[in-house]
Amino acid sequence: MNGQNDILEALYRRMILVRFMEETHDRLLKEGKIQLMGHFGTGQEAVAVGVTGPLRQEDILFGTHRGVGEFIGKGMAPKDIWLEYMGKKDSPCHGKGGLHLCDRERNIPGLVATLGSDFSIAVGTALASKMKGTDQVTLYFVGEGTCNQADAHPSMCMAALWKLPIVFSVCTNQFCELSYMCDHYPTGDVAPRAAAYDIPFEIVDGQDIEKTYEATRKAVEHARGGNGPYLVEYKTYRMATHFSGDPGTYVNRDELEEWGRRDPIVLCREMLLERGILSEEEDRKLRDGIQAEVDEAVEAAFAAPDPGIEDLFKDVYSGEGVIQ
């Protein structure tokens, strides 16, 4: 089970990286050094990282607006994320993405602004994989609020109808923007909606990295094996407010505190210590190293140049220039 230990340690490392990336973003915002507001995924790291853990480089990931978890999980470099967040010329999107991360090398085709639009785009990439006969899987990561968006329905329908290699990973963090899930849902769970299309589903504890990883691994295998779509719902909690400017007045403090006691990074750390995979000393070093990595990436991004007027009219069309 050494392989399993290595995986766990790698996932733990990634979760810390995600947490530090977001904490750094928050600090830079408070210092007035970055303009892009943050939608942090604090407390949800075991979902984002566990979900992307089983993916191969050639698998396709659609992520969300909430934090950098799944993007780090899929292998995006911290520096590329900062370059994009700061709107720098040398970012993967040449400063155009902003919040909307995209990294073709890692098969991250981009993040839509209008929630739920990518439900069907993900079905399209899965359709292409099937038509081309590759064994790529598309993983569509999505919040429970977005699962109410209209296109969720025909998208799941097409995925099932055409037996596409796609996994729907639903991150139920109890919030949909400034309201609780119960303002949006007549039911407690999202997952049973999959049954409407005969899509198999599973609900797992989103605080436990072993479980999120393992459930997703099974789902990805199912999809890769030509058995059609699979849906996994991860139960977690948004420890942050909706975005950096949201004071979160509507949040139930007791509930927040209770969930805070099951911080996925703390849980994972305890497990690693208990199983002797990691020592306190190693953990300290690991964290220092990760923070240094983040700081270095931030510095490098700050030093990078902004795009200019020549970039404003670039890449609208495949040919040169723009059509006015």
Binding site: L36, G87, G98, T114, F313
Partner: protein, 324 residues
């Protein structure tokens, strides 16, 4: 008696007063109870959850639901948080909302008000920053207004709520987030649709501006005054219907016309105004009509590119000079 309040407070008062006046008026939309940007904040405390209805995240469907309620004699005020999201609701907006009265031969009336926030400059990037007014003016049966002051915001929104026709009220984010203030009477008042206002009289060039761009136009007028150019600045206020009389009277005086909007240039509001000018006001024109608008490119995340994208005082100054 009048006091100074913010743009957002003016909108809030308009809704609160109309809800007090008419029990058929109610507010619905995504997170209108907490209200991300404050326009509907606090309404739930006075009017309860029944009349301040949080909806799922599904723009076309909530627009349809609001339309159904309006057909049944209620007066919903629907919020579509960002104007980019109106694109999800175009089927209802363009195919049904403005056409239902006509197609039913006047059997059904749709007293629905839709509020939506437009505009860039907040580093929100693509899909959260667009001005798409010009994509709605083709639809028959709708009215579209865009206030630039708290006074206009309150008067137009109240008029919209009392109107028996569907009205779209466009709120510039710069006016909401910028906390723009202005004098607003304490007494009940409404403003008629289809009346522009001359914000600054001038005899040399007419600048017809939409919404927030009025301030940029006034800035340009001030700069040009130093060069001895006397600019007349018209704040359109109402996009559909358009105040052709005020425009005509001004162009009759100046013979020169510059249109200013934040939306993109092709097929923009400026195109419609320029077409009116080249048709009905042809004999008045002494110089080519100039359109100031955004270029035909998406809105990048990069602050540097976003600033280059946006029309502003300087681009208006240059356009005015081209007419001389």
């Amino acid at each position: 008696m009048s006091r100074t309040i913010t743009f957002s407070q003016a909108l809030n008062e308009a809704m609160a007063e109309e809800m007090r006046r008419d029990p058929g008026v109610f507010v619905m939309g995504e997170d209108v109870r907490v209200s991300a940007f404050g326009q509907t904040a606090g309404l739930v405390d006075e009017f309860g959850e029944e009349r301040v209805l949080n909806t799922p995240i599904a723009e076309n469907a909530i627009t349809g639901a609001a339309m159904g309620a309006a057909m049944s004699g209620l007066r919903p005020v629907l919020e579509l948080m960002f104007m980019d999201f109106t694109m999800l609701a175009m089927d209802q907006l363009c195919n049904n909302l403005g056409q239902w009265r006509y197609i039913t031969g006047g059997q059904y009336t749709i007293p629905l008000t839709i509020r939506t926030a437009c505009g860039a400059g907040m580093r929100m990037g693509y899909g959260h920053s667009q001005c798409l007014q010009s994509q709605l003016i083709q639809a028959p049966g709708l009215m579209i207004v865009e206030p630039s002051t708290p006074y206009d915001a309150k008067g137009l929104l109240k008029a919209a709520i009392r109107s028996d026709d569907p009205v779209i009220v466009v709120e510039s984010k710069k006016l909401i987030f910028g906390g723009v203030e202005g004098e607003v009477p304490e007494e009940d008042y409404t403003l008629p649709f289809g009346e522009a206002v001359v914000r600054k009289e001038g005899k040399d060039v007419t600048v017809a501006a939409v919404g927030f761009m009025t301030y940029e136009a006034l800035g340009a007028a001030q700069a040009l005054a130093e060069e001895g150019v006397d600019v007349e600045v018209i704040d359109l206020r109402s996009i559909v219907p358009m105040d052709k009389e005020t425009l005509f009277a001004s162009v009759e005086k100046t013979g020169r016309l510059v249109t200013v909007e934040e939306g993109r240039i092709r097929g923009g509001i400026g195109a419609e105004i320029a077409a009116l000018a080249s048709g009905e006001y042809f004999s008045l024109l002494k110089a080519p009509v100039q359109r100031v608008a955004a270029p035909m490119v998406p809105i990048a995340g990069s602050p540097a590119l976003e600033d280059l994208y946006l029309p502003n005082k300087d681009t208006i100054v240059r356009a005015v000079r081209r007419t001389l």
